[in-house]
Each structure stands twice: as structure tokens, then as C-alpha cells.
């Protein structure tokens, strides 16, 4: 990935060097601005409106970067000045899947970039006693097995929920290499778990940090 303005002093980059989660694990090219967004989201003194505002910004950037992982082909167009522009075109056949509830926070960001994209949902809940993740609800586009899937889940603490969700997708015939996980914050252990379980899946996150901001969903939806 292109490295922009890489902040060498940031913890993120250290972690990036410390951990190796394979070539399908991708970190959003970081800069001071993204660090600020992460700071605002993590700060316990952030007002909810600021939280949502900044979370939406970070989500948008992750979605944009996630879309870069999709396949494309060369495409030439004629500009209004009658010149040729050698551009590219993305191949159709994508969809989004959000993991309820916090994943739904990312749906708008995806909509803002792809206006008419199909979006499926999975509801995974962990059992209060066994902490085992169970799928309670899943609704996908009918031809999901033919599509590339942008799986949305902002916080990965253990990684269990995502593992369960990906299994459901695979049960529906989605190929592992066609799944792109869009994630904001993830712990090293979750990253290890997910990349080990699904080495062909692309995982995109903005930060790997031992402590995940688990208050994300509650604060975003205002149920704290």
C-alpha cells in the first residue's frame, strides 16, 4: 500500500512492524489526521456528537480504502477537451454485509461511496454463559456467492464475532478471497485469530492496539 506521511513515532507503525499478520492484513495508510480521528474516538471526554462526527469520517476513509481492494480493469474515456484519458473501471458484482449492531454504523459510509450497493446483514450474539458466538439472523442478496463482499465491523476485540460471520458467509457460498473485512480498531489477538482462520480474506483496519475502544457501538448509537 502507498505510504503517506507515515508517522514513524506513532504506536501504530511500531505495532505494524512488531506483528506480522500476513500479506492480506492491511493497515490504513496513517497520518496525523487519522491519528486525530482515533484520538477523538478513544477520548472518554468526547461528546457524543463529536464522536459520531469523527467516527463517520474515519469510517468513510476506511470504506474508500476498502474499495481500493476491489478488482478493476483499464478504461479509456474522452474528456470534454477531446483528449483521451487512460483511466480504469471497477468490475461490478460487489455487495456489503454489516454485522449488527456496530457494523451498521458503517453502512452509511459505504452508501456515500456506492449509492446503490446491496447490503446484507448478520446478527451475531455471544452467549452470556459460554461466550460463544451464535448467529441469530442473516439476510443476504440472493446471488451473494457470486459477489465480492465488504464485511463491516468496526471493533475487533477477540475476533470471535467476525470469525462466526465469515463462516456464515462461506456457508452461503462466498469465496474466502472475495471477502474484504472493513474494521476500524483491532487487537493483536483478534488480528491473529482472524488472519489464521481465513488467510485468503483481506482485513483492513486503521489501528492495531492491545486495547480496543469497546464503547464504540454504545456511544455511536447513544445507548450507553
Amino acid at each position: 500500500m502507498t505510504k503517506v506521511n507515515f508517522d514513524k513515532s506513532a504506536i501504530i507503525s511500531k505495532q505494524c512492524k512488531t506483528f506480522d499478520f500476513g500479506h492480506n492484513f492491511k493497515l490504513l495508510p496513517t497520518n496525523d489526521l487519522i491519528k486525530e480521528l482515533q484520538t477523538v474516538i478513544r477520548d472518554k471526554n468526547t461528546y457524543r456528537s463529536d464522536f459520531v462526527f469523527n467516527a463517520d469520517r474515519l469510517i468513510r476513509l476506511i470504506v474508500e480504502e476498502g474499495l481500493n481492494q476491489l478488482p478493476y480493469e483499464p478504461h479509456q474515456v474522452i474528456t470534454p477537451t477531446d483528449e483521451v484519458y487512460y483511466g480504469l473501471k471497477f468490475i461490478k458484482g460487489n455487495c456489503g454485509v454489516s454485522i449488527v449492531r456496530s457494523g451498521e454504523a458503517m453502512e452509511q459510509g459505504l452508501r456515500d461511496c456506492c449509492r446503490s450497493i446491496r447490503i446484507g446483514k448478520i446478527l451475531v450474539q455471544s452467549d452470556e454463559d459460554t461466550h460463544e458466538a451464535r448467529v441469530l439472523y442473516a439476510k443476504f442478496p440472493v446471488d451473494i456467492s457470486e459477489r465480492r463482499v465488504l464485511l463491516m465491523y468496526p471493533i475487533m476485540s477477540t475476533g470471535n464475532t467476525v470469525v462466526k460471520a465469515v463462516k456464515v458467509l462461506k456457508d452461503h457460498g462466498v469465496k474466502e478471497h472475495n471477502i474484504i473485512l472493513l474494521n476500524l480498531f483491532c487487537t493483536p489477538s483478534a488480528a491473529t485469530l482472524v488472519t489464521k482462520a481465513f488467510p485468503s480474506m483481506i482485513v483492513l483496519t486503521s489501528e492495531v492496539h492491545p486495547v480496543a475502544p469497546n464503547h464504540f457501538g454504545q456511544k455511536y448509537f447513544g445507548t450507553d
Binding site: V4, D32, R60, E64, V77, T79
Partner: protein, 550 residues
């Protein structure tokens, strides 16, 4: 009230013109209303700013506020009702008298305007000559400044005298030469000036001033112009209008009696007491300083042609032509350090493919432009300076983060296309301030011209995100940067943000303003003869707003 004015192509807010459309030419030149909070400048305007105003009965009725002229106004000759419009139409072209000229050269440095001084007795035809010169000059930007604006403020006693026609308005002591000199000096340096608006009822200066900018040519006219040695030094060309005294007296009589409703006796008394002695003692001897004496005033077409020819030669020497020069000045140079291009990703190229395609529908064009602009703005913001902070999280850990150093960020969009970027800026910066600058390309000269400006008052304290959708030659952006610098914004606090730039524009801006950060999503190599970027995206504003010709 300003609806009575006929602004051709010029937004009415671009000018704080009189409401009666019949003032002296001088007040209506270079008038950009620049105050941060003066949206209503002309609304409450009741008294005329200039002694040369002709109280036309028709207009007075129209406005229902006819004002009697109460005093002697010997010095100005209104060559027959020059319209106070911001645009003068001549047979061949349009001359803009409001707005700001491209007062910088290809290097972004300002060049000195050519100053013409026009002196002559009362009613000699100074204004007529000025107007004819402007028409014949054929340069887009002219500022006319009249000595009448620089009368001293009268005290109560003097005010009484003036009311009785006993105050000598023709004596050098009646003028504030110091202020005139300072003003002219600033105009020469292409700086913004506040020209006082003299109220001939109160004999004081109004709170409101007239904002003027330097121009290609500055014409300065007044009866006692050549009596001050400092003023003389500042003029590049000194013209004396030598009109026969009888004719001048006849004009005064006609004007004062027929047009201003004054009685014969008063006019003659005033003429003998003040006007004639002043001419004999001060004005007539000052002819010695003139480079050129024009007999018969405005009728003398030969003289005017000669003046115009000379000014043209001088302007060419100073390099008035701008854009074509900018295009060619940098070839095969490495791109400057200050330029940051948004790292190219498949999505960014994909969006470019959409917006560059001439067959893209407007709906898609807007959608993909907005997406691209959002990424551009986020990227541009990341180039501001950040500081380290330590915060606590709800998980009770300490987190080393970053926050932007100064939240005082102001977006300034270059109208019209730059406005398309405002939304994205608001979407990423809550309650960001937005300034606007309207710069239009003059179709005849292909030079950018400034028409309108609204900036926060304390703009110098802000980091500026200057936005324009496309940068071709960079002339408009350079003008906008100049305006910001004029408002004391430090150069290093300006960040120019644009969707698409041509290489030559990048070079020109970086060369002229090495501290300005330049951010864009793509740099194209060429510019065509219409100054469109190649391969480019066409006219971004037209495509976005749907105002294409066909």
C-alpha cells in the same frame, strides 16, 4: 436602491455604488466592498459623496430626497453626467472600473501602475478628458481618483462660511494633501486604500469609505494637483487642461444656475472672490510642471490619442499581459516541493475516469466529484500541523494521540467552481468559517479579475484552505493568494486545494509563492490555447452547475 443601477455581468454586491447613478466617475472606480460585515453599504446612503454630483430633478423625484446644494463647488467639472456604473461600455470593448485588476506579473509580483495626473482650472473639462482617456486606453483596469475626495473636514465656523459662499474651496489649504499623497502612494504599490467619502453637507468625512485598489492605470485629477511637489513626483504623466477662462466661466454659470438652481449673483461673486484668484495664483502657474498641455479639453481628440499612445507604450514595457506569459514560463522543471498530490489509488483513478469522461451524466459527475473532493479535503487537512496529546479512554488506559494544533481554519473558495468544495470542508470540519472570492476570467483579455470578496475580519489569524476546483495557468489562484496576503495572512498559512492542476499552474504558483502549500488529486501536463487543462475535465463549474452552453 442599487437596483436602479445597471450592472452589466457584475454581481451587485461587488460594488458599493451610489444609488442615484449620477455621481462623479471617480467614486465608482475600483469599488469593492470589502468590509466583513457591510452587506448593506448602500442601503442607508443618503448624501452624495462627491461635489460633482448633479442633482438631477428626475432622480431626485425618483428618490424623493432632493437635496439642495448649499455651497460653492468650484472645482469640479462633470463632463455631462458620467454614469456611475462599474462597467463602462465603449464602442469596442468593456472597461471594468470595479473589481481588481491582475496587478501582478508572471512572477506573482505586483507591478507599478501608470499614474496620469490631470490638472486644470475649474470647469476646464478634466473629467471629460479622463473619461475619454479611459475609453481610448483599452486596458481593462483603471482607477480614477479625484482631489474632491480629499477636502479637509470643516469646523463649525468654516461650515458657516461655506454656507454663505464665503469659504475658499479653491485654496490649497482646503485640501488634505497628506492624505492624498498617502493614498496615491498605496495605490501605486497596488495596496488597498480607503478613500474618504466627503460629505458636502456636513463638510466632514463619512464613516463609510470607498475601497479602491491599484490598477493598470491610475488617473488622478484635481484643480491644485500640480501645486504639491510630492504629488508631482508620483505622477508618470502630467497633463494640463488649458481651457479658455471665458468658456470655463460660461460652463460654471450654466452648471450652477441651470443644474444646481443657484443665483447668478452668488455664482459670480464666488467666482471673483475665490475661483479666479485661485486659478491665477496657483493653478495657472502650475502649468510649468505639465508634460503636456491640452487646449480645449475633451474636444481635443488629437491630444487624447497622443496620451493614449504613450500610456500604451508604457504599459507594454511594464508587462500588462499576463496569462499567456504564465503558460510558457516553466518547461521541463521538476515539480516543486510545496506540491502534495493525493496518493493515487485505483478508486481515485476510477473517480477521475468518471469525471473526466465527457459523456458522464451530471448526476454521476457531481457524485464522483464530491467523493473525490472529500478525499482531497481530508488529505489536505492532514497536512496541517498536529500536536501530541495524551488522553484517557473509557477502558481506563492512557492513549498517546494527536490533535490538530490550531482549530482556527478558514476555507476560502474561489467562486464559482471553488464553492463546490465547501460542502466537503463543512463535512469534515464542524463550524468552519468560509470566505469567498469571486474571480472571473475576462473573456476578452483572458485575464482574471476580482469582483467580490467576503472574508472573516480576523482572517490573518486563520490557517487558510484556499479552494478552487481546477487550476490551469494559476492566474486566478495567484490573485486569490495576493488578496489573502493583502489581508495580512502569512504566506505559510495558506494551503491551496484543487481537484486538478496543470503543471504550468503549479510552477507559477510555487514560484511566486514558495511558502504556499499546494494540494491536488492530479497534475496534468498541458494547457490548451483556451487555458483548459489537457486532458483535463473541461469547465468544472459549468459541468457541476449545469450551465454548459449546449
Amino acid at each position: 436602491m442599487s437596483s436602479s443601477l445597471d450592472f452589466a455581468d457584475v454581481p451587485s454586491s461587488a460594488s458599493s455604488d451610489r444609488s442615484d447613478g449620477n455621481d462623479d466617475l471617480c467614486y465608482d472606480f475600483g469599488s469593492i466592498d470589502i468590509d466583513a460585515d457591510s452587506g448593506e453599504t448602500s442601503a442607508d446612503y443618503t448624501s452624495p459623496p462627491s461635489p460633482a454630483r448633479i442633482a438631477s430633478p428626475r432622480l431626485a423625484t425618483l428618490k424623493g430626497q432632493k437635496r439642495e446644494r448649499t455651497l460653492s463647488l468650484s472645482k469640479s467639472s462633470t463632463g455631462g453626467g458620467i454614469k456611475s456604473e462599474t462597467v463602462l461600455r465603449t464602442r469596442h470593448r468593456t472597461i471594468y472600473t470595479a473589481g481588481r485588476p491582475p496587478w501582478y506579473d508572471a512572477q506573482g509580483q505586483s507591478f507599478e501602475p501608470f499614474v496620469i495626473g490631470i490638472c486644470g482650472g475649474s470647469a476646464s473639462g478634466k473629467t471629460t478628458v479622463s473619461r475619454k482617456i479611459i475609453e481610448a486606453l483599452d486596458v481593462p483596469w483603471v482607477t480614477l481618483i479625484s482631489m474632491d475626495s480629499f477636502y479637509k473636514v470643516l469646523n463649525e465656523e468654516e461650515h458657516k462660511l461655506a454656507f454663505q459662499n464665503m469659504y475658499d474651496f479653491d485654496h490649497p489649504d482646503a485640501f488634505d494633501f497628506q492624505l492624498l499623497i498617502e493614498t496615491l502612494q498605496k495605490l501605486k504599490e497596488s495596496k488597498r486604500v480607503e478613500v474618504p467619502v466627503y460629505n458636502f453637507v456636513t463638510h466632514g468625512r463619512e464613516k463609510r469609505t470607498k475601497t479602491m485598489y491599484g490598477a493598470n492605470v491610475i488617473i488622478c485629477e484635481g484643480i491644485l494637483l500640480f501645486t504639491n511637489s510630492k504629488l508631482l513626483e508620483m505622477m508618470d504623466m502630467k497633463v494640463f487642461i488649458d481651457t479658455d477662462s471665458d468658456i470655463r466661466l460660461a460652463r460654471r454659470l450654466k452648471r450652477d444656475i441651470m443644474e444646481r438652481g443657484r443665483d447668478l449673483e452668488g455664482v459670480i461673486m464666488q467666482y471673483n472672490r475665490f475661483v479666479k484668484p485661485s486659478f491665477d495664483y496657483y493653478i495657472a502657474p502650475s502649468v510649468i510642471h505639465a508634460d503636456l498641455i491640452v487646449p480645449r479639453g475633451g474636444e481635443n481628440q488629437v491630444a487624447i490619442n497622443l496620451i493614449v499612445q504613450h500610456v500604451h507604450t508604457q504599459l507594454q514595457l511594464r508587462g500588462v499581459k499576463l496569462r499567456s506569459k504564465l503558460v510558457k514560463s516553466h518547461v521541463d522543471q521538476p515539480l516543486p516541493q510545496t506540491l502534495k498530490v493525493l496518493p493515487s489509488t485505483p478508486q481515485i483513478i476510477g473517480m477521475h475516469t468518471f469525471i473526466r469522461n465527457r459523456d458522464t451524466s451530471r448526476d454521476e459527475f457531481i457524485f464522483y466529484s464530491k467523493r473525490l473532493i472529500r478525499l482531497l479535503i481530508e488529505y489536505a487537512l492532514s497536512l496541517f500541523s498536529f500536536k501530541d496529546v495524551t488522553i484517557e479512554t473509557p477502558q481506563n488506559i492512557v492513549y498517546q494521540g494527536k490533535r490538530i494544533e490550531s482549530r482556527k481554519i478558514c476555507g476560502v473558495s474561489i467562486l464559482r467552481a471553488g464553492e463546490t468544495m465547501e460542502q466537503a470542508l463543512c463535512d469534515v470540519l464542524k463550524d468552519v468559517r468560509l470566505g469567498k472570492i469571486l474571480i472571473q476570467t475576462n473573456m476578452e483579455t483572458d485575464e482574471p479579475e476580482l469582483y467580490y470578496l467576503r472574508l472573516p475580519k480576523d482572517i490573518k489569524d486563520y490557517r487558510i484552505m484556499l479552494m478552487d476546483a481546477t487550476v490551469g495557468t494559476g492566474a486566478a489562484a495567484m490573485m486569490a493568494i495576493r488578496v489573502l496576503l493583502d489581508h495580512d495572512v502569512p504566506e505559510e498559512n495558506i494551503l491551496l486545494c484543487s481537484l486538478l492542476m496543470a503543471e504550468s499552474g503549479v510552477h507559477s504558483i510555487a514560484y511566486a509563492f514558495p511558502k504556499v502549500k499546494i494540494v491536488t488529486t492530479a497534475v496534468d501536463v498541458e494547457i490548451n490555447e483556451k487555458f483548459y487543462i489537457i486532458p483535463g475535465i473541461g469547465n468544472f463549474g459549468d459541468r457541476y452547475f449545469g450551465t454548459e452552453l449546449e
